[in-house]
Structures are given as structure tokens and as C-alpha cells.
């Protein structure tokens, strides 16, 4: 195994080694490209997480309300996005839906991937939020209603604060999963880390170095989320509440 870590300092068009490893004046080194790809990965993951948290929480809450129709809506959403593999969902968004709904053709693949990944993860988050709410004693809901709060107010002030604190660990896993799942975006031409690894590995014939570097960046991204969520978990902890130490 002969390693050539200097490959990251090579310019992507001419192949020359550039001092300082960062290109300037139009030159792009493989290191620049990798960092740009990392940026795409983080962007896809972050936006998809926002979409997933919003829709997932909404659908999870809907599955616990007394109204049967809203429960059916939440269940339908969750089952639809849970039962189809992620890669198939991405292809559906990219190839099939634009044939059926022509306005979707104008959207860049980045947006379609954010929706696909976001909705896929939202189904899992919906299940976790539902589990969190249903793990609370029934008495909490009735106490809230008995005190005079409306149902939305009971959710907002009594149920959800406790439920979300309970499900922070599974939500951490889902956030980390989104970073890892973003790698399937390469299949629909988003210039993220996995595509960088494949393309740069092919161009330079240094697949080991490329894949190791990309692995490190994925690990760092997922681990950062892990640590951030740990800080969040400690800061929002309320003594005496469910889930507190």
C-alpha cells in the first residue's frame, strides 16, 4: 500500500501540486472540491432535518389526537413513507413525479432530494414523537383539559414539553441517520461527498485516500450532531420531569 496524501493538493484540471493545498484564482484542488462536497452534504442533511422535524412532529401529534380523521391522516403519511426504501423514494421524486406533475421539472435535484430525504425521515420521527406522547400518563392530558386548557394548549404547555424531552435520544439517532442517508443523493446528481469520493477516486486512481478522507468527514459530521444533541439534552433537562436524571 503506497499512500499519496499529496493528491489532495493537486489541481483538478491540470494535476499539478499546488503549494498550500488550497487553489486560488480559478484553480480548484481536490481539497477545495472535497470541502465543497462536504458543504453540499451538510446542506442537504440540515434542510432535510428541518423538513423531517416539522412534518414528523406534526404527523406524530396528529396520531395521538381524539379526532379519527386526523389520526388516519397521520397514519397514512407514516405508513406511506416508511414502507418504501429511501433510494426508491429518491428516484420516484426525481424521475416519476416530474412526469406526473410538470412544475416539479423546474426544481433542481437538490430540492427534490431534500423533500425525499425529509419525508422519509419524517415518518420515523412521527413514530418516535407518537411514542413519546403515548408514554406519558393519561392523567396528564385530562388534568390539562380539566384545568381549562383547550386541547392545543394542553399539547403545547403540558404534553409536548415532556414528550420531546423524552425522545431526544431517538431524535439524535435520526439526525445522525439523515447525515448518513444523504449519501444516496449522489444517485440523482447532487455533488456531495459520496459522489466526490467516486469521481475523484476514479480521476486520481487514489481511491483509498479519497474514501478514507470522506469517511472521516462523515464521521465528524455525524459525531458533531451527536455531541450537540447531548448538550441540548443536558440544557433542557428539568429536575423532577420524566427523563431527567
Amino acid at each position: 500500500m503506497n499512500w499519496d496524501w499529496q493528491v489532495f493538493c493537486r489541481e483538478t484540471v491540470t494535476g499539478d501540486v499546488i503549494a498550500g493545498c488550497f487553489g486560488s484564482g480559478g484553480d480548484v484542488t481536490y481539497l477545495d472540491w472535497m470541502l465543497s462536497a462536504w458543504g453540499w452534504t451538510v446542506s442537504v442533511a440540515a434542510l432535510a432535518l428541518v423538513v423531517a422535524l416539522f412534518f414528523g412532529s406534526l404527523m406524530g401529534i396528529l396520531r395521538t389526537v381524539p379526532d379519527r380523521r386526523l389520526v388516519a391522516l397521520g397514519t397514512a403519511w407514516t405508513e406511506l413513507f416508511r414502507n418504501i426504501p429511501l433510494l426508491v423514494q429518491i428516484f420516484l421524486w426525481y424521475y416519476v413525479l416530474p412526469e406526473l406533475f410538470t412544475p416539479l421539472r423546474e426544481l433542481p435535484s437538490f430540492v427534490l432530494v431534500v423533500f425525499a430525504l425529509g419525508f422519509f425521515t419524517s415518518a420515523r420521527i412521527a413514530e418516535q414523537v407518537r411514542a413519546g406522547i403515548q408514554s406519558l400518563p393519561q392523567g396528564q392530558r385530562y388534568a390539562g383539559l380539566a384545568v381549562g386548557l383547550t386541547l392545543p394548549q394542553t399539547y403545547r404547555y403540558v404534553l409536548l414539553p415532556m414528550a420531546f424531552r423524552i425522545v431526544i435520544p431517538p431524535l439524535t439517532s435520526e439526525s445522525m441517520n439523515i447525515v448518513k442517508n444523504s449519501s444516496v443523493a449522489f444517485a440523482v446528481s447532487v455533488a456531495e461527498l459520496t459522489m466526490f469520493a467516486m469521481q475523484a477516486g476514479e480521476e486520481t486512481s487514489r481511491t483509498m485516500e479519497m474514501y478514507l478522507a470522506v469517511t472521516l468527514l462523515y464521521f465528524v459530521s455525524a459525531f458533531t450532531i451527536n455531541r450537540v444533541m447531548l448538550v441540548v439534552e443536558n440544557r433542557v433537562r428539568v429536575p423532577g420531569m420524566l427523563g431527567a436524571k
Binding site: M1, T12, V13, G201, E202, E203
Partner: protein, 308 residues
């Protein structure tokens, strides 16, 4: 059971040691493919699944193509030279990403797909004499009216991840100060689909692959190959590095075919006659560059060719 500080430190030290060992491991030994073939009575041929007409699958573990046929003949010559009563040929499907690692680690003895001979790749594998010179062209739908690379400015251009065409487009953009939006398909069929469905206006790839994909499309008349030759690339059979005896045998076999006219006949069979799976013709006449490569057999990489 709480993990103590000492255990964590021990685990970290072990992890660090493993990583260091992996990173400074010694280099691999040179291959001796002929001895391996003689001992096992079998040879593994690396093949592609959808690089029609060079190497493609007919379904059910059967492979065919220009390079597959050349390799079959080469292996028949190897069998004769080694004096083996029979030689069992195993087929191993490879992709753009894993073809070189599989040759390097000996899983594949001879790779017969559509690999460009380049200087970076020559660090890891050896190439036989060039059997086909590829010209990178543009395929478009007829209704886009595109006739050359100059009209691609600002348009969507598709190409396949992990191929030399990606770098070629980048070089062209840089050299001529143009900008086009690149869309990457995960394989050739995918990139063609991007162009056929309208997500991309043009598909840049090796002319043979373009012709193969167009000829097996639902309506071939809707597509055409246009424009100037963007790059000339020697396509060659890949061999394990550092095995001069095997390379000489393969080269001699191929050169004999070139000199006797067999090579031209095999070319005609795969490029200009109806071929499986649906008996359509690819229709690519013999290029001057390929004829020149056969007249003067060599294993020069693409960097040694002058861009036209």
C-alpha cells in the same frame, strides 16, 4: 459497569496502533498470473454489464462484446501456450469504481471492458496494447437542434460519475471559459435516461457507448451523435501490474490478430453487424485513430495522444 478512564485509554491506544499498522503496511508483491492460471486451470475475466458493444451482459451470467471476444481468443492462446487441456473462464462483473482494485488484488486476471489507458492508472495496473481508440462525442435529442459543443453553453449536460468524461468537461470549461450545468448519472444507462427525458440537453461520453445506447433505445431516430471529437482516448485491456510474462503473452496474441486482419473482422462483427440482445447494429465505422493504433501497436496512455 462504568468504563473507567484506564480502559478508555487502553482502547484508544489499541485503536491508534491498529490505524498506524494499517497506514504503514508494506507494499503488495508483483503478480504471477500465468502460474496462477496454470495451477488453478481457470482464469477470471473482468467484464462490464452495460458497455455495449465493448462488453455487456446478455442476462444470466453470459457476457458478450468486442473486448470479451478478444479476451476469449487471448485466453485460448494462453491455454495453448501453457499446454493446459482445458481452461475454465470465470466472468466477474466490474464497475468503473471497482475495476482497478479488483485487478490489483488478483480477483480479476484480465479486465476486458472499456477502460481508458491513463498515466495515473498505470501506477496501479498495466495495459495491453491499445485495441480501440475512443472518441468522446456528444449525443443529443434531434429536437434540441444542438450541433456542437459551442451550443452547450448554459445548457444541462449529463455524463456518468466515475468516468474520464467528467474531467474532460471540466477541462473544456476551464480552457474555453464556458459554463455548463453538469448532471451526473450513476451509470451510462442512467445518464442516457437523463438526456432522453429532457433533464439534460446533451450526453457526453465515448462514441461507442453513445452509439450502443442509441441503437438499443425505444426510438433511435430521436437521437443523434453530433459535434467535433472532444477527446481521443485509447481503450485497452487491463492486466495486473508488474507481470511482464503475462503482458507479453497477451500483447503477442493481440498483435498477431492485428497483423492477420482478424482484429478488423472482430471489429466489424461487433460495430457494424447486428448484435445481441435485440439484433440491432451499432453502426460505427472504423476510425483512423483505431486503424493507426493497430498498425503500430502500443500501450501509450491518453496523455501521450495529441488532442484534435
Amino acid at each position: 459497569m462504568k468504563t473507567t478512564m484506564k480502559t478508555t485509554m487502553k482502547l484508544s491506544a489499541l485503536f491508534a496502533a491498529l490505524t498506524t499498522a494499517l497506514l504503514v503496511a508494506p507494499t503488495a508483491q508483483a503478480a504471477d498470473t500465468l502460474a496462477k492460471i496454470k495451477a488453478s486451470g481457470s482464469a477470471t475475466m473482468g467484464v462490464r454489464e452495460s458497455s455495449r458493444p465493448l462488453s455487456f451482459t446478455l442476462g444470466g451470467e453470459k457476457y458478450a462484446g468486442f473486448h470479451v471476444e478478444l479476451c476469449t481468443r487471448v485466453l485460448a492462446d494462453v491455454q495453448k501456450a501453457l499446454g493446459l487441456p482445458k481452461l475454465d473462464i470465470k466472468y466477474q462483473a466490474v464497475t468503473s469504481q471497482n475495476r482497478i482494485p479488483l485487478v490489483q488484488n488478483g480477483t480479476v486476471d484480465i479486465e476486458c471492458g472499456s477502460t481508458t489507458n491513463t498515466t495515473p492508472r498505470q501506477r496501479d495496473v498495466d495495459f495491453a496494447v491499445t485495441t480501440y481508440v475512443e472518441e468522446v462525442r456528444i449525443a443529443t435529442r434531434v429536437d434540441t437542434g444542438i450541433t456542437g459543443i459551442a451550443q452547450l453553453t448554459g445548457k444541462n449536460v449529463s455524463t456518468t460519475t466515475g468516468t474520464t468524461s467528467v474531467q474532460l468537461l471540466r477541462k473544456h470549461e476551464r480552457a474555453n471559459g464556458v459554463e455548463f450545468r453538469e448532471i451526473f448519472g450513476k451509470d451510462h444507462a442512467d445518464s442516457f435516461l437523463l438526456m432522453a427525458t429532457g433533464r439534460a440537453d446533451a450526453f457526453v461520453m465515448d462514441g461507442a457507448l453513445l452509439a450502443g445506447l442509441i441503437s438499443s433505445a425505444k426510438n433511435p431516430a430521436d437521437f443523434r451523435i453530433v459535434g467535433e471529437v472532444l477527446s481521443v482516448e485509447p481503450i485497452a485491456i487491463m492486466l495486473p501490474k508488474g507481470d511482464p510474462a503475462f503482458k507479453k503473452m497477451v500483447d503477442d496474441s493481440l498483435i498477431a490478430m492485428m497483423k492477420s486482419g482478424e482484429m478488423a473482422k472482430v471489429y466489424d462483427k461487433w460495430f457494424n453487424q447486428p448484435i445481441p440482445p435485440n439484433n440491432t447494429k451499432v453502426g460505427l465505422p472504423l476510425a483512423e485513430a483505431t486503424k493507426a493504433a493497430w498498425a503500430a501497436p502500443n500501450d501509450r496512455p491518453v496523455e501521450a495522444y495529441v488532442k484534435q
